[in-house]
């Protein structure tokens, strides 16, 4: 169905880790933090529609 979502999130995680390491070693700590924040927000933007759809389906299914 959307197994790729898991691998996309893992890929973003690894890339952000590498990026923040590189940025940290080159002395720019703020950019490293901003990069990890951007990665987090990107992943959240992927996952939130799924959460919404899941909770809506459950609500309709069980007439909550």
């Amino acid at each position: 169905m959307s197994v790729g979502l898991i691998f996309k999130i893992a890929a973003v995680g690894i890339l952000v880790t590498v990026l923040s390491q590189v940025l940290k070693h080159s002395g720019r700590d703020e950019h490293a933090f901003l990069a990890s924040l951007a990665g987090l927000i990107l992943v959240l933007s992927w996952i939130v529609p799924y959460i919404l759809e899941l909770f809506e389906t459950i609500r309709k299914l069980f007439e909550l």
């Binding site: 898991i6 995680g13 952000v16 799924y50 459950i58 069980f62």
Partner: protein, 126 residues
């Protein structure tokens, strides 16, 4: 066959999440959560089939099925509270998970009250 798919999917998600835990704990939590969400969505169509079977049982039973609706609602509440409290427990917040469970139990007790009252009234009328 689907069972094998879900099992392998779970293992793959856990492996990736554990690897990410060292560098980015937040992303590993989100990974675990998204894995749980996908598996839950995958199991939802099974629940849909069960619901259709239950509807046909209702038609056979005819009257006296008003309280079954509460039963289905309670099922949904437990399912949802179990899901969200599990995620909180994964993140390490046991107390938050407990509070969600407590709220679920109270909600179920509240929605089960009419059945109890109807039962007591029935006894009194005997």
């Amino acid at each position: 066959m689907e069972l094998v798919k879900v099992a392998i999917f779970g293992i793959a998600t856990v492996l990736l999440a554990v690897e990410l835990k060292g560098h980015k704990p937040v992303l590993s939590l989100i990974l675990g959560m998204s894995g749980a969400i996908l598996i839950m969505m995958f199991s939802l169509d099974k629940i849909l089939k069960v619901m259709e079977q239950i509807q046909t049982v209702f038609h056979l039973l005819g009257q006296g099925t008003s309280y079954f609706m509460i039963l289905i609602k309670v099922l949904g509440v437990t399912y949802l509270c179990q899901f969200s409290s599990g995620i909180c427990r994964d993140a390490g917040f046991g107390n938050l998970a407990e509070q969600i469970q407590v709220f679920g139990k109270l909600y179920i007790m509240l929605s089960g009250m009419p059945i109890l009252l109807a039962f007591i009234e029935m006894i009194q009328n005997l």
